[in-house]
């Protein structure tokens, strides 16, 4: 406490332990200086477990609850105040342990109040019936313990005397590692290890101007930029003192920020006279230091001891630490956080070269912040789940690398030579040993809440995830290919009963008009199977972007993520044709990409569904045909015995069954040759660095329509643009639909002109389908159109389907946004998995 002002400082995130006898005024103090939600009091917890805030029998349970609440708060990064007497060292020790478990600092505030005063206060309160004796006992316990309190592990201990208590003000200090309000831009530089020449070249390449002398270097950064050194400036290389001089000058002038590496820590120990083995290049450094003037060692020691082991920048978006930092440790302060930041985490084993085996924290990293680090030399700087190691082994003859933030560009200069022979060859840590492709079960299971940018959050229930896990593990294609699953689509509102139809254009058009859409795109609904096509310009491009290692140039998969073709050769042929059509249409260059993801319909229906057609559609037609033939013949034989009315009815049923068989047969043909297949792409979803949800559906239709000119197996999808305000255009499109469906077409899909439309209650349906009367026999059964049947079928609820359609749409887009922004695999997979999980929701399959 500041003697003059009464100001008392605590870290922004810490555990504040109030210490004082009953009646010392702890609760009053806490109320005055902290939020009610920040204070956890032992009396309150006694009340929680025993309905009596003074029940001493309940103390054990009450403290369990207190620790639990405080632990949860600290884990979430909330300052927490413990309002309990805490007069015994044992009790304080358990709170310090709790703070350390959550990598937080603990601060004690001791309220010094004479026992008589406290006793009087207690007497004045009707709920406190213990006498002065108890308070005196607490007081003597407190006094005995106070002598050692500063050594108990608190980062600060403040004493507040009774006469000063009213003057106290509390200020909350930022942690040293908290630079959240500094957003850069930065140039982050990996392990230099005494490679002074390379560092100077790199700084020049980054636009820094170097001048001055070796002893007093001057470095002027490009406008507004600063360098961040990730530690390990020294050892092994030819000129560690030169590097130190440069960096120290830059830090002093504000041109750089520096964090320490394990080599600096060891050098500091040596400089401070501790007994340290001169290994791993420290001997070279010490030798080089001898050439420096007296006092330089002292300057270096002061510099190193001033360094903070990690920083959090830019609102929490960037974290730097020499050896990286797990999410739970970011912005925290404890010796294990410091140790992780300096040394990383090792498994305790050593590899064939005698080097410690490192625990691959980056592969498991699921944090939001970008973590930039060095420490372990790698041949190339690669992103692994939003983390990047930019120690590219300059001193071992690799290169010195910088990462520009926020641009994420890498800038590197090659080593002049191999300054130091590595124990393990640099090429050893190839990318396949850093499996960013490994997904974690926690990425997908349990109840999940996924943030999407078009619709806030989407919640996935645990039960749905269970079903999806089996499908995703056993039946889908490799998750690295699976960047998108299409959403389900709702039909238009059911037509009212004055119309013999179940679905018609009027309701679909009306839906969008009511939601403020001015123009819609109506497209033919092809009757085949939904297919997502991911295709690259070459198989090398596919490997580079998707990294699956199966030699494929692309994949075709179903709406549930399975391979569309059982036969790889079939897939290969189709992919090659699509890629070639893109080539001929000039679309690769026009879109400036070497891969695309398309949403399409693949025909004939029988290509994929032949089992279903045989076991269900053909089977129903056959059984119905054969049975009704027999029935009608036998009814005809009995007309004089009163079967006339039945006969008429069953003849009508016979006609409906004939219509049904004609309906499904239209969508089937034999496709032994790839030339018999038809692919009708209708959405150009994504390509390198781009999604196309900001383009109108007309653009999608026109762009993809061009493919049809270059290959007959690619089909353009017929469409109409309809001005919803024009009755004439509405009538025209209705007539168009009638014609389509009369010719045996499935129907049409109506979409708003633009992809993402929000109405009064959030996102509206991205599309509605409007199916033809004959096609619906395939869905609702041969005899659905009989008046008594169609009336009952009108009672169908669309709300679940529509809610799913909106959620799956949001997830599908989110996955592609993330993929094109090169987010880690698990972030993309989370969305795709979510769509699959939602698809396991029980919903009327006929909608």
């Amino acid at each position: 406490m500041n003697r003059q002002t009464g100001e008392l400082s605590v870290p922004e995130l810490c555990l504040v332990v109030l210490v004082g006898v009953s009646g010392a005024g702890k609760s009053t103090f806490a109320r005055k200086h902290f939020l009610p939600s920040e204070v956890v009091s032992s009396d309150f917890c006694r009340g929680l477990v025993a309905d009596d805030t003074n029940d001493q029998q309940a103390t054990g349970d009450a403290f369990d609850v207190l620790h639990y609440i405080a632990g949860k708060r600290l884990a979430r990064g909330r300052l927490t105040v413990i309002d309990a007497t805490n007069v015994e060292p044992e009790g304080r020790a358990s709170l310090i342990r709790l703070a350390r478990e959550h990598d937080c600092l603990a601060v004690a505030i001791v309220l010094n109040v004479p026992p008589q005063v406290a006793g009087e206060r207690n007497d004045a309160r009707p709920d406190r019936n213990f006498g002065l004796r108890v308070v005196k006992q607490q007081h003597s316990q407190l006094r005995r313990g106070l002598r050692g309190i500063k050594r108990e592990g608190f980062s600060r201990v403040h004493f507040v005397d009774l006469d000063r208590v009213d003057e106290v003000t509390i200020t909350r200090n930022k942690l040293w590692n908290d630079k959240r309000d500094d957003a850069g831009p930065f140039d982050l530089i990996g392990d230099v290890h005494g490679c002074c020449d390379e560092l100077r070249s790199l700084l020049s390449a980054l636009g820094y101007e170097l001048s001055g002398t070796r002893e007093a270097p001057v470095v002027v950064p490009p406008q507004g930029r600063r360098a961040i050194f990730l530690g390990d400036l020294v050892d092994r290389g030819p000129d560690s003192p030169g590097v130190l001089r440069l960096v120290m000058a830059m830090v002093a002038s504000g041109a750089a920020i520096c964090i320490p590496g394990n080599h600096e820590v060891k050098l500091l120990k040596k400089l401070r006279g501790k007994n340290v083995r001169l290994s791993h290049g420290l001997a070279e450094t010490m030798q080089q230091m001898e050439a420096e003037p007296a006092g330089f060692g002292e300057q270096v020691a002061d510099f190193i001891s001033s360094l903070v082991s990690h920083y959090v920048f830019d609102g929490g978006k960037l974290v730097v630490a020499h050896a990286g930092l797990r999410e739970e440790y970011q912005g925290r302060a404890s010796s294990r956080v410091r140790s992780f930041a300096l040394y990383g985490e090792t498994t305790g084993e050593t590899d064939d070269f005698g080097l410690p085996v490192r625990y691959d924290w980056a592969a498991e990293y699921r944090g939001r912040a970008m973590v930039v680090y060095g420490h372990t030399p790698v041949p190339e700087a690669n992103w692994v789940n939003r983390t990047i190691c930019i120690d590219t082994g300059c001193v071992f003859g690799g290169k010195l690398t910088a990462l520009r933030y926020p641009e994420r560009d890498l800038v590197a200069v090659d080593a002049v030579k191999t300054h130091y022979e590595p124990t393990k060859p640099l090429q050893g840590s190839a990318p396949e040993e850093r499996p960013a492709y490994v997904l974690d079960i926690d990425d997908v299971t349990g109840k999940r809440i996924i943030d999407t940018r078009v619709r806030h959050t989407v919640t996935i229930r645990e039960g749905n995830a269970i079903a999806a896990l089996e499908v995703m593990s056993r039946f889908t294609i490799d998750p690295r290919w699976l960047i998108y699953l299409p959403p389900t689509m709702s039909p238009a509102q059911t037509a009212p009963s004055d119309d013999p139809l179940l679905e018609r254009p009027f309701e679909a058009l009306d839906y969008f008009a009511r939601n403020g859409v001015e123009r819609v795109v109506c497209q033919t609904k092809h009757m085949g199977s939904r297919a997502v096509v991911v295709v690259a310009r070459t198989s090398e491009a596919a490997q580079a972007r998707f990294g699956v290692g199966d030699g494929k140039q692309g994949v075709v998969y179903t709406r549930t993520g399975r391979a569309f073709f059982a036969d790889d050769a079939r897939e290969r042929e189709l992919i090659a044709r699509v890629a070639a059509a893109f080539e001929r249409a000039g679309l690769w260059d026009e879109l400036n990409t070497d891969w695309v993801c398309l949403d399409a319909e693949l025909m004939p229906w029988s290509l994929k569904a032949v089992e279903l057609l045989r076991t269900q559609y053909a089977a129903v037609g056959t059984s119905a045909g054969a049975a009704l033939r027999e029935v009608v013949a036998s009814l005809r034989g009995a007309t004089e015995r009163g079967t006339g009315e039945l006969l008429a009815r069953f003849e009508a049923r016979q006609a409906m069954v004939a219509g049904y068989s004609a309906a499904w047969r239209r969508y089937c043909w034999s496709a032994e040759d790839i030339g018999d297949v038809r692919l009708a792409p209708f959405h150009l979803l994504a390509s390198e660095g781009a999604t196309y949800f900001d383009r109108s559906h007309v653009w999608h239709m026109q762009t993809l329509g061009r493919l049809a000119e270059h290959d007959p197996i690619l089909m353009a999808t017929a469409y109409r643009v309809v001005e919803l305000g024009s009755a004439g255009e509405r009538a025209e499109v209705t007539a168009w639909w009638e014609q389509l469906t009369a010719d045996g077409g499935e129907g049409m899909v109506v979409k708003p002109e633009h992809w993402i439309v929000r109405g009064k209650r959030g996102l509206i349906q991205p599309a509605l389908k409007c199916r033809g009367a004959e096609y619906l026999r395939v869905i609702y059964g041969p005899e659905y159109s009989a008046a008594e049947n169609v009336e009952r079928l009108r009672a169908r609820g669309l709300s679940t389907k529509r809610s799913l359609a909106r959620r799956e749409f949001a997830l599908g887009l989110e996955g592609l946004y993330r993929f094109t922004e090169r987010e880690p695999l698990w972030r993309v997979h989370e969305c795709v998995f979510g769509v699959l999980a939602l698809e396991s929701e029980a919903v009327d399959p006929r909608l």
């Binding site: 089996e470 569904a609 279903l612 059984s623 027999e630 039945l646 399959p845």
Partner: protein, 464 residues
């Protein structure tokens, strides 16, 4: 959909008395699933035919089925309205109940008399083929005429449908004909429309009185008649499969049976389990996880041996886990024994911290079910992330397949196998894994070793 019964017993119109339905009138009856109509296409003294026409309400079927899970009726596009099925049995019971119980107000004596009868069913689905139809009806003295229907005239390559129009002729009591039909029609259809409860057993025994006990197919009849429901979990999974595809998971059992049948002669599965167990014991394993535990065969062996202190079975399929739980009677175990074993849902291509802390992991006949491109993820999950001291992997030796007489050349043993490896391929992979993750691996054949093609199964035991 249609059952006609014809007699040439004189006077043939007595059939009307036996059925309790006047040949001169067409009558309709309310049934739970629609209506039944009775009329006579022919009614002379020489020959009389009664028709029972089921007028099934196709929309009502689906509407009523909603909520009753796992049911063929949840599809509108459904053969149920057109075939002879358990609906027909219900209709016979309701409409011809008196005849079924062998009573007649006006022709009591005729009820007890064997008369020439012909029954015709349009159409009858026959699951089990023509031979099964004959095996059901011929032992009862019927002469059969079976007319198969082609699946679709436009697609002759699809072959025959499972439907036929069938005519049965015999001289017997009308009651017996009706009893036979009420039992055997649903048996042939093998797809009951209602929940099968314990009262079905009583019904089967009553209708089978006097003929079922001696029927050579009685076991098959009972099994199919008392058809079991699929579990609710499976229903959730069924929703996940493509609209365009029949459910692959439902067929799983069948594929497993096929693989087992293939390997049965060798009692290969037992040998495999014994080989795994002895490897585990040899390495002093106390805590073991069986990844891809399936229905828990290995787990059952592990539980029997007290040296295994902690046993966890992991599988990705909730259905398999349900069965494993039933097989191990997990719900009945005492608390102490319950604490030894745990079943968890997990996937071998997702890293899982629950796999940490075991002495050994077993992957028995698992890797061949994983796509080759995802083996790298499997390798990471098991050998890197979990990394127990001992890992046991078994997989088929594809070289041995030529020794399975019933397996066509080039075919794999199980439809879900993504690959089957030769010994060299397996050893190659395993040596690579061992080297990458610091394990030693030794190989062991499982089953009889053929000098040319080796053993049917190969095992790699990884230790470190």
């Amino acid at each position: 959909m249609l059952l006609t019964i014809t007699t040439t017993h004189q006077p043939a119109t007595d059939l009307g008395y036996l059925l309790g339905k006047n040949p001169e009138r067409t009558q309709s009856f309310e049934l739970p699933f629609g209506e039944g109509h009775v009329y006579y296409p022919e009614a002379t003294t020489e020959r009389c035919t009664a028709a029972l026409l089921l007028d099934v309400d196709p929309i009502g079927l689906v509407r009523r089925a909603q909520g009753a899970d796992g049911f063929a009726l949840s599809q509108y596009t459904n053969d149920r309205p057109y075939v002879s099925s358990s609906f027909l049995s219900v209709a016979i019971g309701r409409v011809f109940g008196q005849a079924l119980s062998g009573r007649s107000r006006d022709r009591a004596e005729l009820c007890e008399t064997a008369i020439p009868l012909e029954a015709r069913l349009a159409v009858l689905p026959i699951r089990g083929g023509e031979a099964f139809v004959r095996a059901l009806f011929e032992p009862l003295g019927y002469e059969l005429e079976i007319e198969r229907h082609q699946l679709d005239a436009d697609f002759p390559q699809w072959g025959d449908s499972p439907y036929c129009t069938i005519t049965l002729r015999a001289t017997l009591r009308l009651q017996d004909l009706l009893r036979h039909l009420t039992v055997l029609v649903p048996v042939l259809d093998d797809n009951k429309h209602y929940w099968v409860g314990s009262d079905e057993v009583d019904k089967l025994l009553a209708r089978g009185e006097g003929w079922l006990a001696a029927h050579p197919q009685r076991e098959a009849i009972a099994q199919r008649y008392l058809r079991h429901q699929r579990s609710l979990t499976r229903e959730a999974l069924a929703r996940l499969t493509d609209d365009d595809e029949p459910e692959p998971i439902a067929k799983e059992d069948e594929h497993h049976r096929q693989e087992e049948a293939l390997e049965r002669k060798l009692t290969l599965n037992d040998q495999r389990l014994q080989a795994v167990l002895s490897a585990l014991r040899r390495h002093g394993v106390r805590r073991v996880v069986d990844v891809g535990c399936g229905e828990g065969r290995l787990l059952r062996e592990l539980v029997r041996d007290r040296t295994f202190e902690r046993i966890v079975g992991m599988d990705v399929s909730p259905t398999s886990l349900e069965r494993a739980s039933a097989r191990l009677r997990i719900d009945e175990l005492s608390e102490r024994r319950r604490a030894r074993i745990e079943l968890i849902q997990g996937s071998l291509t997702y890293r899982d911290k629950r796999l940490a802390g075991f002495d050994a992991a077993c992957a028995v006949e698992v890797i061949e079910h994983i796509d080759a491109t995802r083996l790298a993820a499997f390798e990471h999950v098991l050998f890197e992330a979990a990394g127990p001291a001992c890992v046991i992997v078994t997989t088929p030796n594809v070289e041995y397949n030529v020794r399975f007489e019933t397996l066509p050349a080039g075919k794999l043993r199980h439809r879900d196998h993504r690959f089957e490896w030769t010994r060299a391929e397996f050893e190659d992979w395993a040596n690579g894994v061992a080297q990458r993750h610091g394990y030693e691996v030794v190989f062991e054949p499982i089953g009889p070793v053929d000098p040319e093609v080796g053993a049917p199964t190969q095992m790699g035991v990884f230790t470190r």
